[in-house]
Symmetry: C2
Subunit: 217 residues, 2 copies
DNA sequence: TGCGCTTCAGTGACGAAGTCACCAAACATC
DNA sequence: GATGTTTGGTGACTTCGTCACTGAAGCGCA
Protein backbone atom coordinates (compact mmCIF):
# COMPACT_ATOMS: atom_id res chain seq x y z
CA UNK A 1 0.00 0.00 0.00
CA UNK A 2 1.32 3.35 -1.02
CA UNK A 3 0.95 6.69 0.75
CA UNK A 4 -1.21 7.77 -2.17
CA UNK A 5 -4.16 5.93 -0.67
CA UNK A 6 -4.22 8.44 2.14
CA UNK A 7 -5.34 11.06 -0.36
CA UNK A 8 -8.85 10.45 -1.64
CA UNK A 9 -8.34 12.93 -4.44
CA UNK A 10 -5.39 10.98 -5.76
CA UNK A 11 -6.81 7.50 -5.60
CA UNK A 12 -8.07 7.66 -9.15
CA UNK A 13 -4.77 8.52 -10.74
CA UNK A 14 -3.95 6.26 -13.70
CA UNK A 15 -1.21 3.74 -13.00
CA UNK A 16 1.44 5.49 -15.05
CA UNK A 17 0.95 8.84 -13.39
CA UNK A 18 0.73 7.17 -10.05
CA UNK A 19 4.04 5.42 -10.27
CA UNK A 20 5.67 8.52 -11.70
CA UNK A 21 4.46 10.48 -8.69
CA UNK A 22 5.61 7.89 -6.24
CA UNK A 23 8.96 7.56 -7.94
CA UNK A 24 9.76 11.24 -8.21
CA UNK A 25 8.65 12.39 -4.79
CA UNK A 26 10.17 11.60 -1.47
CA UNK A 27 9.00 11.41 2.08
CA UNK A 28 10.38 13.91 4.54
CA UNK A 29 10.05 14.19 8.29
CA UNK A 30 10.33 17.42 10.23
CA UNK A 31 10.35 17.78 14.01
CA UNK A 32 7.73 19.70 15.93
CA UNK A 33 7.90 23.50 15.83
CA UNK A 34 9.89 23.62 12.61
CA UNK A 35 9.17 26.67 10.50
CA UNK A 36 8.37 25.09 7.16
CA UNK A 37 7.96 28.30 5.27
CA UNK A 38 7.95 31.94 6.16
CA UNK A 39 9.37 35.32 5.24
CA UNK A 40 12.42 34.64 3.14
CA UNK A 41 11.99 30.91 3.29
CA UNK A 42 10.07 29.52 0.38
CA UNK A 43 9.68 25.80 -0.05
CA UNK A 44 10.80 24.25 -3.29
CA UNK A 45 8.29 21.46 -2.97
CA UNK A 46 4.59 20.91 -2.81
CA UNK A 47 3.89 19.14 0.46
CA UNK A 48 1.27 16.48 1.05
CA UNK A 49 0.88 15.80 4.74
CA UNK A 50 0.93 12.19 5.90
CA UNK A 51 1.09 12.85 9.63
CA UNK A 52 0.91 15.82 11.91
CA UNK A 53 -0.46 19.28 11.28
CA UNK A 54 0.95 22.51 9.96
CA UNK A 55 -0.26 25.79 11.37
CA UNK A 56 -0.27 28.79 9.05
CA UNK A 57 -0.29 32.11 10.83
CA UNK A 58 0.50 35.72 10.33
CA UNK A 59 2.27 38.24 12.52
CA UNK A 60 1.62 41.98 12.44
CA UNK A 61 4.28 44.61 12.91
CA UNK A 62 2.77 45.36 16.30
CA UNK A 63 3.52 41.81 17.34
CA UNK A 64 0.03 40.43 17.36
CA UNK A 65 -0.57 37.13 15.62
CA UNK A 66 -3.46 35.21 14.11
CA UNK A 67 -3.86 31.63 12.97
CA UNK A 68 -5.14 31.58 9.39
CA UNK A 69 -5.71 27.88 8.92
CA UNK A 70 -4.24 24.45 9.51
CA UNK A 71 -3.15 21.78 7.12
CA UNK A 72 -3.99 18.33 8.43
CA UNK A 73 -2.84 14.84 7.51
CA UNK A 74 -4.35 13.89 4.17
CA UNK A 75 -4.31 17.46 2.90
CA UNK A 76 -1.93 19.37 0.73
CA UNK A 77 -0.16 22.61 1.27
CA UNK A 78 -1.04 24.17 -2.08
CA UNK A 79 -1.34 27.75 -1.00
CA UNK A 80 2.09 27.62 0.44
CA UNK A 81 3.69 26.83 -2.83
CA UNK A 82 1.51 29.09 -4.89
CA UNK A 83 1.97 32.06 -2.66
CA UNK A 84 5.64 31.90 -2.37
CA UNK A 85 5.95 30.77 -5.93
CA UNK A 86 4.85 34.14 -7.13
CA UNK A 87 4.24 36.70 -4.48
CA UNK A 88 6.90 37.81 -2.34
CA UNK A 89 7.02 39.77 0.82
CA UNK A 90 4.37 39.11 3.36
CA UNK A 91 4.76 37.66 6.72
CA UNK A 92 2.67 34.49 6.83
CA UNK A 93 4.53 31.47 8.09
CA UNK A 94 3.87 27.75 8.32
CA UNK A 95 4.88 25.86 11.41
CA UNK A 96 4.79 22.14 12.06
CA UNK A 97 2.78 21.79 15.25
CA UNK A 98 3.82 18.22 15.85
CA UNK A 99 6.43 16.00 14.30
CA UNK A 100 5.28 15.87 10.72
CA UNK A 101 5.72 13.44 7.88
CA UNK A 102 5.01 14.66 4.39
CA UNK A 103 5.46 13.80 0.76
CA UNK A 104 7.54 16.38 -1.04
CA UNK A 105 6.79 16.85 -4.71
CA UNK A 106 9.41 18.90 -6.56
CA UNK A 107 8.08 21.81 -8.55
CA UNK A 108 8.96 20.27 -11.88
CA UNK A 109 7.17 17.06 -11.08
CA UNK A 110 4.20 19.06 -9.84
CA UNK A 111 4.10 20.92 -13.12
CA UNK A 112 4.25 17.77 -15.17
CA UNK A 113 1.50 16.15 -13.13
CA UNK A 114 -0.74 19.17 -13.55
CA UNK A 115 -0.10 19.00 -17.24
CA UNK A 116 -0.62 15.26 -17.67
CA UNK A 117 -3.44 14.33 -15.34
CA UNK A 118 -6.89 15.73 -15.10
CA UNK A 119 -7.29 13.92 -11.80
CA UNK A 120 -4.26 15.67 -10.39
CA UNK A 121 -5.52 19.01 -11.66
CA UNK A 122 -8.78 18.42 -9.91
CA UNK A 123 -6.95 17.50 -6.74
CA UNK A 124 -4.97 20.72 -6.85
CA UNK A 125 -7.85 23.01 -7.67
CA UNK A 126 -10.05 21.43 -5.06
CA UNK A 127 -7.39 21.99 -2.46
CA UNK A 128 -7.15 25.62 -3.51
CA UNK A 129 -10.86 26.10 -3.25
CA UNK A 130 -10.97 24.64 0.20
CA UNK A 131 -8.24 26.93 1.44
CA UNK A 132 -9.82 29.96 -0.08
CA UNK A 133 -13.17 29.26 1.48
CA UNK A 134 -11.28 28.81 4.75
CA UNK A 135 -9.84 32.27 4.33
CA UNK A 136 -13.22 33.72 3.50
CA UNK A 137 -14.57 32.19 6.68
CA UNK A 138 -11.73 33.60 8.74
CA UNK A 139 -12.48 37.04 7.38
CA UNK A 140 -16.16 36.71 8.10
CA UNK A 141 -15.39 35.62 11.64
CA UNK A 142 -12.96 38.31 12.62
CA UNK A 143 -15.00 41.00 10.91
CA UNK A 144 -18.47 40.10 12.10
CA UNK A 145 -18.59 37.51 14.86
CA UNK A 146 -18.54 38.36 18.51
CA UNK A 147 -15.68 37.11 20.53
CA UNK A 148 -17.56 35.02 23.05
CA UNK A 149 -19.07 33.01 20.21
CA UNK A 150 -15.75 32.53 18.51
CA UNK A 151 -14.06 31.51 21.73
CA UNK A 152 -16.74 28.97 22.60
CA UNK A 153 -16.41 27.58 19.11
CA UNK A 154 -12.66 27.34 19.37
CA UNK A 155 -12.75 25.65 22.77
CA UNK A 156 -15.04 22.93 21.49
CA UNK A 157 -12.95 22.50 18.38
CA UNK A 158 -9.74 22.21 20.36
CA UNK A 159 -11.28 19.86 22.89
CA UNK A 160 -12.40 17.42 20.24
CA UNK A 161 -13.69 14.43 22.15
CA UNK A 162 -11.61 15.24 25.22
CA UNK A 163 -12.79 16.90 28.37
CA UNK A 164 -9.91 19.31 28.68
CA UNK A 165 -8.15 21.73 26.38
CA UNK A 166 -4.43 22.20 26.83
CA UNK A 167 -3.78 25.79 25.88
CA UNK A 168 -2.60 28.97 27.50
CA UNK A 169 -4.65 32.12 27.25
CA UNK A 170 -1.96 33.53 24.98
CA UNK A 171 -2.28 30.61 22.55
CA UNK A 172 -6.04 31.05 22.39
CA UNK A 173 -5.56 34.74 21.75
CA UNK A 174 -3.37 33.94 18.75
CA UNK A 175 -5.92 31.46 17.47
CA UNK A 176 -8.53 34.19 17.38
CA UNK A 177 -6.28 37.10 16.52
CA UNK A 178 -7.00 39.02 19.68
CA UNK A 179 -5.24 39.99 22.91
CA UNK A 180 -4.49 37.78 25.86
CA UNK A 181 -6.37 39.94 28.36
CA UNK A 182 -9.54 39.69 26.30
CA UNK A 183 -9.36 35.90 26.40
CA UNK A 184 -8.66 35.91 30.14
CA UNK A 185 -11.70 38.02 30.84
CA UNK A 186 -13.95 35.99 28.57
CA UNK A 187 -12.82 32.73 30.12
CA UNK A 188 -13.52 34.16 33.56
CA UNK A 189 -17.03 34.89 32.42
CA UNK A 190 -17.44 31.29 31.19
CA UNK A 191 -16.07 30.09 34.51
CA UNK A 192 -18.40 32.34 36.45
CA UNK A 193 -21.28 30.72 34.64
CA UNK A 194 -19.94 27.31 35.61
CA UNK A 195 -19.26 26.20 32.04
CA UNK A 196 -15.52 25.66 32.48
CA UNK A 197 -12.84 25.26 35.09
CA UNK A 198 -9.39 26.66 34.67
CA UNK A 199 -5.97 25.76 35.83
CA UNK A 200 -2.61 26.86 34.57
CA UNK A 201 -2.37 25.85 30.93
CA UNK A 202 -5.55 23.80 30.78
CA UNK A 203 -9.26 24.40 30.55
CA UNK A 204 -11.79 21.78 31.57
CA UNK A 205 -15.15 21.87 29.85
CA UNK A 206 -17.80 21.14 32.45
CA UNK A 207 -20.99 22.21 30.77
CA UNK A 208 -20.62 21.53 27.08
CA UNK A 209 -24.22 22.17 26.12
CA UNK A 210 -24.39 25.92 26.75
CA UNK A 211 -20.98 26.36 25.14
CA UNK A 212 -22.16 24.62 22.02
CA UNK A 213 -25.35 26.60 21.99
CA UNK A 214 -23.40 29.82 22.22
CA UNK A 215 -20.97 28.66 19.55
CA UNK A 216 -23.62 28.30 16.91
CA UNK A 217 -25.76 31.32 17.61
CA UNK B 1 -4.52 43.03 -32.33
CA UNK B 2 -6.25 40.51 -30.13
CA UNK B 3 -7.55 40.99 -26.64
CA UNK B 4 -4.82 38.65 -25.48
CA UNK B 5 -2.32 41.48 -25.60
CA UNK B 6 -4.10 43.08 -22.68
CA UNK B 7 -2.88 40.23 -20.49
CA UNK B 8 0.86 40.31 -19.95
CA UNK B 9 0.83 36.79 -18.61
CA UNK B 10 -0.66 35.48 -21.81
CA UNK B 11 1.51 37.29 -24.30
CA UNK B 12 3.98 34.45 -24.48
CA UNK B 13 1.49 31.78 -25.41
CA UNK B 14 2.59 29.74 -28.42
CA UNK B 15 0.64 30.49 -31.60
CA UNK B 16 -1.34 27.27 -31.60
CA UNK B 17 -2.54 27.69 -28.04
CA UNK B 18 -3.19 31.32 -28.66
CA UNK B 19 -5.50 30.82 -31.56
CA UNK B 20 -7.23 27.96 -29.80
CA UNK B 21 -7.94 30.24 -26.86
CA UNK B 22 -9.18 33.05 -29.05
CA UNK B 23 -11.33 30.70 -31.08
CA UNK B 24 -12.97 28.90 -28.18
CA UNK B 25 -13.70 31.83 -25.93
CA UNK B 26 -16.13 34.63 -26.45
CA UNK B 27 -16.46 38.17 -25.32
CA UNK B 28 -19.37 39.05 -23.09
CA UNK B 29 -20.64 42.37 -21.79
CA UNK B 30 -22.58 42.86 -18.61
CA UNK B 31 -24.20 46.08 -17.40
CA UNK B 32 -23.23 47.84 -14.20
CA UNK B 33 -24.41 46.32 -10.92
CA UNK B 34 -24.90 42.86 -12.36
CA UNK B 35 -24.31 40.08 -9.86
CA UNK B 36 -21.83 37.93 -11.75
CA UNK B 37 -21.64 35.21 -9.18
CA UNK B 38 -23.03 34.68 -5.74
CA UNK B 39 -24.85 32.23 -3.52
CA UNK B 40 -26.45 29.74 -5.83
CA UNK B 41 -25.08 31.35 -8.95
CA UNK B 42 -21.83 29.83 -10.07
CA UNK B 43 -20.26 30.88 -13.33
CA UNK B 44 -19.53 28.23 -15.90
CA UNK B 45 -16.68 30.25 -17.30
CA UNK B 46 -13.37 31.67 -16.29
CA UNK B 47 -13.56 35.40 -16.81
CA UNK B 48 -10.76 37.65 -18.00
CA UNK B 49 -11.69 41.29 -17.57
CA UNK B 50 -11.17 43.60 -20.52
CA UNK B 51 -12.98 46.62 -19.14
CA UNK B 52 -14.60 47.63 -15.89
CA UNK B 53 -14.12 46.21 -12.41
CA UNK B 54 -15.74 43.47 -10.42
CA UNK B 55 -16.18 43.89 -6.69
CA UNK B 56 -16.11 40.75 -4.59
CA UNK B 57 -17.74 41.13 -1.21
CA UNK B 58 -19.25 39.15 1.57
CA UNK B 59 -22.39 39.67 3.61
CA UNK B 60 -22.86 38.44 7.15
CA UNK B 61 -26.11 37.13 8.53
CA UNK B 62 -26.40 40.30 10.59
CA UNK B 63 -26.41 42.30 7.37
CA UNK B 64 -22.99 43.82 7.56
CA UNK B 65 -20.82 43.64 4.48
CA UNK B 66 -17.15 43.82 3.57
CA UNK B 67 -15.34 44.21 0.29
CA UNK B 68 -12.79 41.43 -0.11
CA UNK B 69 -11.04 42.50 -3.28
CA UNK B 70 -11.60 43.85 -6.75
CA UNK B 71 -10.83 42.38 -10.12
CA UNK B 72 -9.65 45.04 -12.53
CA UNK B 73 -9.28 45.15 -16.29
CA UNK B 74 -6.37 42.99 -17.34
CA UNK B 75 -6.91 40.55 -14.48
CA UNK B 76 -8.65 37.25 -14.23
CA UNK B 77 -11.34 36.03 -11.95
CA UNK B 78 -9.69 32.75 -11.02
CA UNK B 79 -10.86 32.48 -7.46
CA UNK B 80 -14.39 32.83 -8.59
CA UNK B 81 -14.26 29.77 -10.72
CA UNK B 82 -12.21 27.74 -8.36
CA UNK B 83 -14.31 28.50 -5.35
CA UNK B 84 -17.62 27.83 -6.86
CA UNK B 85 -16.19 24.99 -8.86
CA UNK B 86 -15.69 22.99 -5.74
CA UNK B 87 -16.94 24.57 -2.59
CA UNK B 88 -20.42 25.25 -2.06
CA UNK B 89 -22.31 27.40 0.31
CA UNK B 90 -20.78 30.64 1.34
CA UNK B 91 -22.06 34.04 0.75
CA UNK B 92 -19.41 35.88 -1.24
CA UNK B 93 -20.68 37.55 -4.35
CA UNK B 94 -19.11 39.27 -7.33
CA UNK B 95 -20.70 42.42 -8.67
CA UNK B 96 -19.82 44.38 -11.80
CA UNK B 97 -19.25 47.91 -10.55
CA UNK B 98 -19.38 49.42 -14.00
CA UNK B 99 -20.39 48.10 -17.36
CA UNK B 100 -17.93 45.30 -17.84
CA UNK B 101 -16.50 43.53 -20.85
CA UNK B 102 -14.83 40.19 -20.31
CA UNK B 103 -13.53 37.16 -22.11
CA UNK B 104 -15.36 34.03 -21.06
CA UNK B 105 -13.37 30.82 -21.22
CA UNK B 106 -15.50 27.67 -20.87
CA UNK B 107 -14.37 25.25 -18.24
CA UNK B 108 -13.37 22.58 -20.73
CA UNK B 109 -11.23 24.99 -22.67
CA UNK B 110 -9.70 26.19 -19.44
CA UNK B 111 -8.84 22.63 -18.52
CA UNK B 112 -7.25 21.91 -21.86
CA UNK B 113 -5.20 25.09 -21.71
CA UNK B 114 -3.94 24.27 -18.24
CA UNK B 115 -2.99 20.88 -19.54
CA UNK B 116 -1.29 22.01 -22.72
CA UNK B 117 0.50 25.20 -21.88
CA UNK B 118 3.02 25.90 -19.19
CA UNK B 119 2.57 29.61 -19.86
CA UNK B 120 -1.14 29.35 -19.20
CA UNK B 121 -0.48 27.36 -16.04
CA UNK B 122 1.84 30.06 -14.85
CA UNK B 123 -0.77 32.69 -15.63
CA UNK B 124 -3.38 30.84 -13.62
CA UNK B 125 -1.20 30.12 -10.63
CA UNK B 126 0.14 33.64 -10.54
CA UNK B 127 -3.38 35.00 -10.52
CA UNK B 128 -4.21 32.68 -7.65
CA UNK B 129 -1.21 33.80 -5.67
CA UNK B 130 -2.06 37.42 -6.10
CA UNK B 131 -5.59 36.93 -4.87
CA UNK B 132 -4.48 34.92 -1.91
CA UNK B 133 -1.98 37.52 -0.83
CA UNK B 134 -4.79 40.04 -1.21
CA UNK B 135 -6.89 38.01 1.17
CA UNK B 136 -4.02 37.71 3.62
CA UNK B 137 -3.67 41.46 3.55
CA UNK B 138 -7.37 41.96 4.16
CA UNK B 139 -7.16 39.71 7.19
CA UNK B 140 -4.14 41.52 8.52
CA UNK B 141 -5.90 44.85 8.10
CA UNK B 142 -9.18 44.04 9.74
CA UNK B 143 -7.51 42.13 12.55
CA UNK B 144 -4.70 44.50 13.41
CA UNK B 145 -4.95 47.91 11.82
CA UNK B 146 -6.69 50.83 13.43
CA UNK B 147 -9.62 52.28 11.63
CA UNK B 148 -8.37 55.82 11.13
CA UNK B 149 -5.35 54.44 9.31
CA UNK B 150 -7.44 52.16 7.15
CA UNK B 151 -9.89 54.92 6.32
CA UNK B 152 -7.16 57.38 5.35
CA UNK B 153 -5.68 54.68 3.17
CA UNK B 154 -8.98 53.94 1.50
CA UNK B 155 -9.75 57.60 0.86
CA UNK B 156 -6.46 58.11 -0.93
CA UNK B 157 -6.94 54.91 -2.89
CA UNK B 158 -10.45 55.87 -3.97
CA UNK B 159 -9.43 59.41 -4.82
CA UNK B 160 -6.71 58.26 -7.17
CA UNK B 161 -5.49 61.40 -8.87
CA UNK B 162 -8.74 63.25 -8.26
CA UNK B 163 -9.42 65.77 -5.57
CA UNK B 164 -12.78 64.35 -4.52
CA UNK B 165 -14.09 60.94 -3.59
CA UNK B 166 -17.66 60.12 -4.57
CA UNK B 167 -18.87 57.77 -1.86
CA UNK B 168 -21.44 57.72 0.87
CA UNK B 169 -20.45 56.92 4.43
CA UNK B 170 -22.30 53.65 4.07
CA UNK B 171 -20.22 52.65 1.04
CA UNK B 172 -17.02 53.42 2.87
CA UNK B 173 -18.24 51.35 5.80
CA UNK B 174 -18.74 48.37 3.51
CA UNK B 175 -15.29 48.87 2.02
CA UNK B 176 -13.77 48.53 5.46
CA UNK B 177 -16.22 46.07 6.95
CA UNK B 178 -17.37 48.38 9.70
CA UNK B 179 -20.47 50.40 10.61
CA UNK B 180 -21.67 53.61 9.04
CA UNK B 181 -21.63 55.58 12.28
CA UNK B 182 -17.99 54.76 12.84
CA UNK B 183 -17.09 56.16 9.44
CA UNK B 184 -19.18 59.27 10.06
CA UNK B 185 -17.40 59.99 13.30
CA UNK B 186 -13.97 59.36 11.87
CA UNK B 187 -14.64 61.60 8.88
CA UNK B 188 -15.80 64.31 11.25
CA UNK B 189 -12.49 64.04 13.02
CA UNK B 190 -10.62 64.38 9.72
CA UNK B 191 -12.79 67.35 8.89
CA UNK B 192 -12.15 68.94 12.26
CA UNK B 193 -8.46 68.71 11.53
CA UNK B 194 -9.03 70.43 8.21
CA UNK B 195 -7.91 67.48 6.12
CA UNK B 196 -11.18 67.01 4.27
CA UNK B 197 -14.45 68.73 3.44
CA UNK B 198 -17.70 66.85 3.21
CA UNK B 199 -20.89 67.25 1.33
CA UNK B 200 -23.64 64.78 0.66
CA UNK B 201 -22.11 61.86 -1.18
CA UNK B 202 -18.68 63.35 -1.76
CA UNK B 203 -15.54 63.99 0.21
CA UNK B 204 -12.98 66.55 -0.88
CA UNK B 205 -9.40 65.95 0.14
CA UNK B 206 -7.90 69.27 1.17
CA UNK B 207 -4.75 68.28 2.98
CA UNK B 208 -3.42 65.14 1.37
CA UNK B 209 -0.08 65.07 3.15
CA UNK B 210 -1.25 64.32 6.70
CA UNK B 211 -3.72 61.77 5.35
CA UNK B 212 -0.95 59.97 3.53
CA UNK B 213 1.27 60.14 6.56
CA UNK B 214 -1.45 58.60 8.68
CA UNK B 215 -2.19 55.98 6.05
CA UNK B 216 1.27 54.50 6.17
CA UNK B 217 1.98 54.61 9.86
C1' DT C 1 -43.77 75.97 -5.57
C1' DG C 2 -44.76 73.31 -2.08
C1' DC C 3 -45.55 68.38 -0.44
C1' DG C 4 -44.09 63.94 0.68
C1' DC C 5 -40.65 60.22 0.15
C1' DT C 6 -36.24 58.38 0.20
C1' DT C 7 -31.50 58.54 1.06
C1' DC C 8 -27.74 60.33 3.80
C1' DA C 9 -25.63 62.03 7.69
C1' DG C 10 -25.28 63.43 12.87
C1' DT C 11 -25.87 62.25 17.84
C1' DG C 12 -25.83 60.28 22.58
C1' DA C 13 -25.75 56.40 25.36
C1' DC C 14 -24.01 52.17 26.08
C1' DG C 15 -21.61 47.66 25.63
C1' DA C 16 -17.78 45.00 23.69
C1' DA C 17 -13.09 44.73 22.57
C1' DG C 18 -8.18 46.29 22.49
C1' DT C 19 -4.20 48.61 25.07
C1' DC C 20 -1.16 49.67 28.78
C1' DA C 21 1.00 49.12 32.98
C1' DC C 22 1.50 46.45 36.63
C1' DC C 23 0.98 42.61 40.01
C1' DA C 24 0.71 37.84 41.73
C1' DA C 25 0.62 33.23 41.50
C1' DA C 26 2.59 28.69 39.51
C1' DC C 27 6.28 26.33 37.78
C1' DA C 28 11.28 25.36 36.55
C1' DT C 29 16.11 25.38 37.88
C1' DC C 30 19.71 25.43 40.15
C1' DG D 1 14.78 27.43 49.43
C1' DA D 2 16.23 31.42 46.25
C1' DT D 3 15.65 32.91 41.72
C1' DG D 4 13.90 33.67 37.22
C1' DT D 5 10.31 32.66 33.83
C1' DT D 6 5.58 31.73 32.36
C1' DT D 7 1.16 32.32 32.98
C1' DG D 8 -2.87 34.58 34.48
C1' DG D 9 -5.52 38.63 36.90
C1' DT D 10 -6.79 43.59 37.29
C1' DG D 11 -8.08 48.52 36.59
C1' DA D 12 -8.13 52.51 33.80
C1' DC D 13 -8.72 54.13 29.50
C1' DT D 14 -9.48 54.29 24.32
C1' DT D 15 -11.53 52.66 20.29
C1' DC D 16 -15.07 50.40 17.95
C1' DG D 17 -19.77 48.55 17.20
C1' DT D 18 -24.83 48.94 18.22
C1' DC D 19 -29.23 50.99 18.94
C1' DA D 20 -32.58 54.27 18.63
C1' DC D 21 -33.45 58.52 17.06
C1' DT D 22 -33.29 63.10 14.65
C1' DG D 23 -32.71 66.06 10.96
C1' DA D 24 -31.18 67.58 6.53
C1' DA D 25 -30.67 67.11 1.36
C1' DG D 26 -32.23 65.69 -2.85
C1' DC D 27 -36.07 63.87 -5.90
C1' DG D 28 -40.55 63.28 -8.01
C1' DC D 29 -44.63 65.22 -8.96
C1' DA D 30 -48.88 67.31 -8.70
Amino acid sequence: MSWIDQFPGLSRLPDGIRSYLVGESKIVTVPANTVIFGPGKSPENLLLLLDGTVRVQQTSDTGREIVLYRVHAGESCVLTTACLLAYEDYSAEGIAETETRAVAIPRKVFDKLVSDSIEFRQFVFTAYSKRITDLFMVIEEIAFQKLDIRLAHKLIELAGGEETVAATHQKLAVELGTAREVISRQLQEFQRRGWIEQSRGTIRLIERAPLEKLAQS
